[in-house]
Amino acid sequence: MSADKVVVRLEQVARVYRQNSLAVHALRGISLEIRKGDFAVLVGPSGSGKTTLLNVIGGLDTPTAGRIWVAGTETGRMSKSKLAEMRLRKIGFVFQEFNLIPVLSALENVEFVMLLQGIPEAERRVRSNALLKELGLQGLEHRRPSELSGGQQQRVAVARAIAAEPIIVLPDEPTANLDSKAGGALLDLMRRLNEQKGVTFVFSTHDPMVVERARRVVRLKDGEIEADERRPE
């Protein structure tokens, strides 16, 4: 596993929104490299561009200028369905509000992405069960999201995000809706996945607890990178 392998590269990426006749510059010429095994956080005040940057990296949003490569493939000019395919194969999302599919059980939520990928049922089942067990959700496999606590739901969301073995996981404020105990446990879990399995994480967060545990901190302000600091192991 080469720690230096670049999984995502951004070159002068800008994103301008039009709100009525007003142009909002969410990102201004961001250049950034995410390497395999990174456990990075994007920090900055509200409106600094953290979520937009995550969305652009994950192919949910497309930049108005600049170029992006994910696993060596340029994604900036991909069609909607190509982008969907890219997200399916290479990206894992974790949302602030969990956003599990309400009508599917925990197990089915974890299986969902693998199913879209066409992984056979037996393999899906084995991998999902193993992941849920690893994340401490044994016995809750058949519960629907509404029957799980916030922390449990977010762990299912993490399991869903990593189940299909993406090259990068993008949690957007994952601890914002959790109490400090559940948030801490979730972070420990993700850190363990990062260290043991080499899963790459890029967070956006306001939470000092997240920043504390990160090995790389990218500070954003007004859509620009103010600082990019790597911490020793």
């Binding site: 969305n55 994950g58 949910l60 949003d61 909607k80 369905s81 969907a84 395919e85 890219m86 997200r87 399916l88 194969r89 990206i91 999302f93 949302f95 956003n99 599919i101 309400p102 009508v103 599917l104 059980s105 197990l107 089915e108 299986e111 969902f112 992405v113 199913l115 879209l116 049922e121 899906r124 496999e141 058949h142 519960r143 629907r144 509404s146 029957e147 869903r160």
Partner: protein, 830 residues
């Protein structure tokens, strides 16, 4: 303040407002249009049939309508005319002298009604002269006669040629005269085209030897809806001696059709209302569920529950009013447009041709009173539909509500491990349906009701017409009649079938032929000691006849004909009344025999029958086959063979078999549709009407379903965003929405068909008693007061399938919208 808040809420969620308003508007517009269409059709029927000859009101001497005879001639018509013209509601009045006669030309003759009119006065009341298609109209100063087109055809006569009229004069002497045919008219009304001969009033008075006499005064009113008060006034002013009759009594066939359309319209409008209610309830319910948190905050800051209730109701009223405005604009606009342009039903011409008074173009009518009623009912429906969610909103617990949980939210239940043999999106779709049970209940309920309504209404139609066809064919014709070509035109005795025994054996061997009976049929004159009436004389072989028709079961006095009773006759009750004969008395029958001589025979009345049809009861008499054969000098020959099928639905196939077996030059097989054309036309015409209703209904239901799917998509915007973020391809999102609709509609169809078929089966056994609606209308052969609905696969399945297909098609649009969502915006969607 509260109203202002309600108004802003309505404006805030424009999509939801648009969906609700459009649901109300399209429902209301459809109802407005449909009612206008039926009103237009009825008005056209009434106008066309009354204006050709009947007029709006007629005045006779009492009893004339039931028994039109010269004995009931008004002696002082001038005074009566002055009296009716004095009524302010009467626009015009025309004096008429009517009587019966035999019209002959060469060897052809026909019984006719001779009507004498004063051409100038008559033209102010009716437009018969405008219907002249050959020759010219009548002039007061010349002798001459106008004939109906069918009558002219039957006599083989044209304008410019002469015919002979023979009849009985007022004084009992024989009346006769030779008259030139001035013109031929075509009204498309059988009673007029086939039997009416019109001359100048003076000529007819002279013919019947009744100078100054009149039998009827026909009136045109300034406003046709004023019939009841005019009748009442005239009845009072003219006293006991006279009868004042409105068009519904004069034209019962038209009245019963109008009544039937009205009954169907009420039923259909009721169904529309339920569908519109479901279509409105859904978005209002969604609007409340969606704003659970907002209502929680309002309750938390001290809004009273009563105020919250009023807020939600006021929103519904505002939405309802907007829907009324849009619906009335659309509905009245459409109705008014087609009211001018007309709706071309030329494609269904076969169905319209002999429906009395209808032409290819129907002009819908805009009526303010109808719109007011509909608007009030639709607004009330919208408010009632909003009541449940409004009460729910007012009962929210503030703390729970602020957390975004409605108290009554359906619990999810433990999902068993998904069977992954199902595509996951079908699974998600199915579970989504269970997730929001109220929405599902409303949508499935609404759609199921639509299917149920279709099944029931079509079952009702099918049962109604099936009953009519069955009764009619059972009274007289059977299902198929074998005859010589041209026989039915005149019932000419010389057009008889040779070797009937052989024919019968062959016909009876055809599969699906349940029974076949030989008959003699001829036009004849039946006379008692005091009166004569034109009849159709039917000679039957009593035993085989019983398995083809059930006339023997309609005997109300005496007994049915037995084999060998060759000196006996069975007549209809009305005919007995007209001839003033009783059981055991003699009737003399005269008819032209096959050899051209006049056959005469006397029979003793051994039975009197009564069907529900006055046409049968007043014009038909039965004798035995040998008696009729002897009267008409037929030897062993018969006029027709009438066949009853085991299964009427297999008519087409059996006709082919019959043609193969009984084909001979000059022989034809006539199915019941040809034997009873009026009935066939009525059945077909009402099929057209029900198809139109179906189409409009389908449009409303499809709109309601599309709106519901839109609401379901809007509600789950964020979920779709997440699915997209996870890499779900847009196609899969589209499919999921469509699957959901299919699952819902399948549920609805099963439910609707289940209940609908059960209802039809139940009422099919019990019968639905409509005799109250049709009281006094006995003109349509086979029309009975009790309807037995019936499920016919051919008419029941298509509406359900059409609804399913339409729902899937309309769900494609919201599905495509869902698939095109911007994932970032969708995930942020509150």
């Amino acid at each position: 303040m509260l109203l202002g808040l309600a108004w802003r809420n309505v404006l805030r969620n424009r999509r939801r407002t648009a969906i609700t308003v459009s649901s109300i508007a399209i429902g209301l517009a459809a109802m407005t249009f449909l009612w206008g269409f039926i009103d237009g059709m009825n008005r056209q029927m009434i106008v066309n049939t009354t204006r050709f000859f009947a007029g709006d009101v007629q005045v006779h001497l009492k009893g004339y309508h039931d028994d039109p005879t010269l004995d009931l001639t008004i002696p002082e018509s001038g005074a009566v005319l002055r009296a009716v013209r004095g009524d302010p509601a009467v626009a015009a009045a025309s004096v008429r002298m009517e009587g019966k006669a035999l019209a002959s030309r060469g060897d052809k003759s026909r019984g006719v009604v001779v009507a004498g009119v004063a051409p100038q006065e008559e033209a102010k009341v009716t437009v018969l002269f405008e219907a002249v298609v050959e020759g010219g109209p009548l002039r007061a100063d010349e002798t001459g006669i106008l004939l109906g087109e069918k009558l002219a055809e039957a006599l083989g006569i044209h304008a410019g040629e002469e015919l002979v009229l023979v009849g009985q004069a007022y004084d009992g002497s024989v009346a006769s005269g030779r008259y030139p045919v001035r013109g031929v008219f075509r009204t498309k009304i059988d009673e007029l085209d086939g039997y009416l001969a019109v001359m100048s009033l003076d000529a007819v008075r002279e013919f019947f030897a009744a100078p100054g006499g009149a039998t009827a005064i026909a009136l045109r009113l300034r406003d046709r809806s004023e019939i009841a008060p005019v009748r009442a006034r005239l009845a009072t002013s003219m006293g006991e001696r006279y009868e004042v009759l409105g068009w519904p009594t004069l034209l019962p066939m038209v009245a019963v059709s109008v009544r039937f359309h009205e009954v169907v319209t009420y039923v259909v409008l009721l169904m529309f209302l339920v569908v519109v209610a479901a279509a409105v309830a859904n978005p209002v319910l969604m609007a409340v569920l969606e704003r659970t948190r907002e209502f929680g905050i309002m309750l938390a800051v001290g809004t009273s529950r009563g105020r919250l209730l009023r807020l939600v109701l006021q929103e519904a009223v505002l939405l309802g009013l907007a829907g009324l405005a849009a619906g009335n604009a659309l509905g009245l606009g459409l109705t008014a447009y087609f009211g001018r342009a007309g709706i071309d039903l030329g494609a269904f011409e076969a169905g319209l041709r002999t429906m009395p008074g209808l032409s290819d173009f129907i002009y819908p009518v805009v009526r303010a009173d109808r719109s007011l009623i509909l608007s009030a009912i639709v607004l009330a429906t919208a408010c009632i539909a909003a009541l449940y969610p409004a009460v729910n909103a007012a009962r929210l617990e503030p703390v729970e509500a602020i957390r975004g949980r409605a108290r009554a939210r359906a619990s999810a239940g433990h999902g068993a491990a998904a069977s992954t043999r199902w595509p996951v999106f079908v699974l998600i779709a199915a579970r989504n349906i269970l997730r929001n049970r109220r929405r599902t209940a409303i949508m499935v309920g609404g759609a199921a009701f639509s299917v149920l309504a279709f099944v029931f209404v079509f079952g009702f139609f099918d049962g109604f017409f099936d009953g009519m066809v069955e009764n009619s064919t059972r009274y007289l014709t059977g299902h198929v009649q074998l005859e010589r070509a041209g026989f039915r035109k005149d019932l000419a005795p010389e057009l008889a079938l040779d070797k009937p025994a052989e024919l019968l054996t062959r016909l009876r061997s055809v599969p699906n032929v349940a029974a076949a009976a030989p008959r003699v049929q001829a036009q004849a004159l039946a006379s008692s000691a005091t009166k004569s009436e034109g009849i159709v004389l039917i000679g039957i072989d009593p035993l085989p006849e019983r398995s083809v028709t059930f006339i023997h079961r309609t005997i109300v006095q005496g007994k049915a004909l037995d084999p060998g009773a060759d000196r006996e006759i069975v007549i209809g009750r009305k005919l007995a009344e007209r001839l003033r004969v009783r059981l055991g008395e003699k009737v003399v029958v005269m008819a032209q025999a096959a050899d051209g001589e006049l056959g005469t025979a006397a029979y003793r009345v051994s039975g009197i029958f009564a069907t529900e049809s006055s046409t049968f009861d007043s014009a038909i008499a039965y004798v035995t086959l040998p008696a009729a054969q002897s009267l008409l000098a037929l030897g062993a020959r018969v006029s027709t063979v009438n066949i009853r099928l085991g299964d009427r639905a297999a008519l087409e196939r059996t006709m082919e078999d019959l043609r193969r077996l009984a084909a001979a030059p000059g022989l034809v097989l006539a199915p019941w549709q040809e034997l009873l054309p009026q009935l066939d036309e009525m059945v077909r015409f009402n099929r057209v009407v029900s198809d139109i209703i179906l189409a409009v209904f389908l449009l409303v239901v499809a709109t309601a379903i599309m709106n519901t799917v839109f609401m379901a998509v809007a509600e789950r915007t964020r979920e779709f965003g997440v699915l997209m973020a996870l890499g779900t391809p847009p196609g899969a999102i589209r499919r999921m929405v469509v699957y959901e609709t299919i699952v819902l509609m399948t549920l609805a169809s099963l439910l609707g068909y289940g209940i609908g078929i059960a209802l039809v089966e139940y009422f099919g056994r019990q019968g639905i008693d409509l005799s109250g609606f049709f009281q006094g209308y006995a003109a349509i052969p086979g029309l009975t007061g009790i309807v037995y609905p019936k499920v016919l696969v051919a008419t029941t399945i298509p509406p359900g399938v059409a609804l399913l297909i339409a729902s899937v098609l309309v769900s494609l649009y919201p599905a495509a919208k869902a698939a095109r969502l911007d994932p970032v915006a969708a995930i942020r969607h509150a």
